[in-house]
Subunit: 459 residues, 2 copies
């Protein structure tokens, strides 16, 4: 152990290798606030070559390595054990280039998402990945976990924002594929293999990101619906009318909605009566005209009776207060004891899933309070159970119930948060033995000594 720490200090300099009490507590856990451990060391490389040097040494000595970004994950994917060495990418930060013609930005892995969004905006572009942790999360982590967020319906997940990638492999070799091309059919798409692999196949050090034009306007509306079938009909109508300009379709079931209103700053309910279902909708417009196509489409659906009611935001602040209801989830850790599920279900079956899941939870734990909401346009449902409603019941008791149902509905046990360690026991619920065997053989091929993020994804 001394040997590897000394070798790392020799290679990267003593100030790049922290041990014992030099290790700040933030390196010990992530936002899931479970299982925090002090690692053997935290290594802080300044550039790709130093990441490569660190991996070369660790691989030679079969030392487990945990790559770390902003540590905002919820699956324990960047949390070390006491036998691991963490490699934090935080010093490898900064934007290297914005290519206006190619509409690309070249960034280092440790750059925060917000810094990237702001730099894009300053250059009159938009970087389309967005999520709540934007100020802290780093692009390397966003890519390693294929982050989703609030605009997937329009622009896809993190992987869809990437043209080029630089990755340091387990043996310290540097795989550089930093091309700016949109089309590149020359063998296996390694980019998509590393993105979402949660640091188990390599450490992402740099990337070429796609930039989108800045939209002219964003229009927001909140709709009241009679049930899930109406929600699907509305989603299809809006997709047909707005195409890829439909940028959010967030569904909230009444339990969640009431909590959202109660947790919002104004605490004002937007409707004077309660409804079976609520949809928060956003239209990102590129046309600089006064015609709001969202308002037009909703007016028609109010007439046809598909919508029971609708509030169309007339100002940015009104839009923000509608979003506040949906973003009440930020208050959950403070005001509830949240047990969270992040799952995917085929879009047509989500309504049925919610009813079934709620019934199963209540039949086992009659006092349980569950809140259902999600990015329905992306087939992504979030379920939060308030742990205070079922005192003494460990979160682990709920997981098999929910995930078993996800399996029955042919969904996915993780839509956007990843597997990490927390969801590892359930990976086999929605990926087959053949898929897992295929993943393991790729892992063995690229990391034969198993040094990269050991225990994550697979045991």
């Amino acid at each position: 152990m001394e040997a590897i720490l000394n070798a790392l200090k020799d290679a990267l300099g003593a100030d790049a290798v922290r041990t014992g009490s030099e290790i700040e507590s933030r390196y010990l856990g992530d936002w899931s606030a479970k299982s925090a451990h002090a690692p053997l060391a935290v290594v802080l490389p300044r550039n790709t070559q130093e990441v490569a040097a660190a991996l070369r040494l660790c691989n030679a000595l079969r030392q487990g390595v945990v790559p770390q970004g902003g540590l905002t994950g919820l699956a324990g994917g960047a949390v070390p054990t006491s036998n691991d060495i963490c490699i934090s990418l935080e010093r490898l930060a900064g934007i290297e280039e914005i290519d206006r013609s190619a509409a690309t930005m070249t960034v280092r892995a440790g750059t925060t998402l917000q810094a990237i969004q702001e730099a894009a905006e300053a250059a009159d572009f938009e970087f389309q990945l967005d999520l709540g942790a934007r100020g802290t999360c780093q692009i390397g982590g966003n890519l390693a976990t294929n982050a989703g967020g609030i605009r997937v319906i329009q622009s896809g997940t993190a992987r869809d924002q990437v043209l080029g990638l630089e990755v340091v492999l387990a043996d310290g070799s540097v795989l550089s594929a930093m091309g700016k091309m949109i089309k590149n059919n020359t063998g296996y798409d390694l980019r998509h293999l590393f993105i979402g692999s949660e640091g188990t196949l390599g450490i992402i050090t740099r990337a070429v990101l796609r930039l989108a034009p800045r939209p002219a306007a964003r229009h927001t509306a909140l709709c009241a619906l009679s049930g899930y079938e109406s929600a699907i009909a509305l989603l299809q109508t809006l997709k047909a009318r707005l195409g890829k300009e439909l940028s959010a379709f967030e569904l909230m079931w009444p339990d969640f909605f009431e909590l959202g209103v109660a947790f919002s700053r104004s605490q004002q309910a937007p409707f004077s009566t309660a409804y079976p279902l609520y949809a928060l909708i956003e239209h990102t417009s590129y046309a600089n005209d006064r015609h709001d196509r969202l308002a037009q489409a909703l007016a028609r659906q109010l007439e046809s009776g598909l919508l029971l009611d609708a509030v169309i935001a007339q100002s940015t602040s009104q839009a923000r207060s509608l979003w506040e209801i949906r973003e009440a989830t930020a208050e959950f850790p403070v005001k509830l004891t949240p047990i969270n599920f992040d799952i995917s279900i085929p879009i047509g079956d989500i309504g049925n899933f919610v009813d079934t899941c709620r019934a199963q939870l209540q039949s086992r734990w009659p006092a349980s309070r569950a809140f259902f909401f999600g990015h329905i346009g992306d087939s992504n449902l979030h379920v939060t159970v308030d742990g205070r409603s079922i005192p003494g019941v460990p979160p682990d008791a709920l997981e098999p119930v929910v995930y078993d149902l996800v399996r029955t509905f042919q969904g996915s046990v993780s839509a956007e948060h990843g597997i990490g360690v927390h969801k590892r026991p359930f990976l086999g619920y929605t990926r087959s033995e053949t898929e897992l065997a295929c993943m393991r053989s790729i892992k063995r091929a690229l990391d034969p000594n198993g040094i990269l993020n050991p225990g994550k994804l697979f045991s």
Copy 2:
């Protein structure tokens, strides 16, 4: 050899295994019309289980297998040698399901692209992949090669149309990942690994495809420009005004344009004078309004002087005749002796690349006639040299010249056609040794006996 043919006949039935004179000539080569060979046999499985049975037998006997779809490829990727057994997916055809709520279509690999497009349309959806070979090519081949085509700027390549995939692996095991979820962060994205792997990692048997809403209208225009910088400025302006509704941005250099007009049915030049550069532009609109945002945007650019001239199609037939100029490439094999290049170059550098490439070709072969055109919005340039202008010069002589320049410009030697066998010597021009080593180790991990499409991609 007799042993394996008998075993295949036992497993699949005698009528599913063709040998010798029973093998029709269409199985021998692809649309590149190079190197046609009669294989040992052509096997015609009816379902996934039969594909699995065939691969199990071939793997046990280390028999090379070439998967075949519609055989419209241009890189020799589906062309057998005389030692191979072809597995044609043509009997595994048909659409299994359209899920309206999820906006998905479940298809078998042997279904033609056109059948998929038509079924989508009949259900009031659009399948957004489109390319010239639509009537013959099969979706399995489209996915195995990650086909591009004419609408990539709006909707991406083949891989972007896929949610779920079923693949038979080298050992005959069936990897089924036929989920309808848009978000699914549960381990490695195997889907993207198989897509574009040209049949070297597994045989795609079924897929869950994404469907898009049907657009309300398509608007087409042809613009005359003073040079490449104006083209980039126009592209950026239109992206900013139309967002993802900009569905084509095809640039044509004068040599190509004049040929296109000459090869078109009307042979009428749309402009009375010649210009340095031409852009064919398409706007796919989802709004059912009378305001044509493309026409508005172009009018503004005519006023500002960015455009020298523009023709905006006033009818479907006028739009078709503008497209005919661009699609004159269909006449190339008949009226020229085309030597074709399909390359990617970072968008900002394409103008410079064209000038440099043209100059280099002319300095070596002063009489050479080269035609430049491409999907510039996707960073994809096509170059066609008329072999008749350089009699006696073999096509092979031109390749190192062009691909060397592609390497210098940090582009890609194949944008959309793939590597197959024809581009194999040049794969290393734009993929690094580390990338190739990584690909080879994945290949060894998933196909240890090297039976899947031997000699394709790698030697």
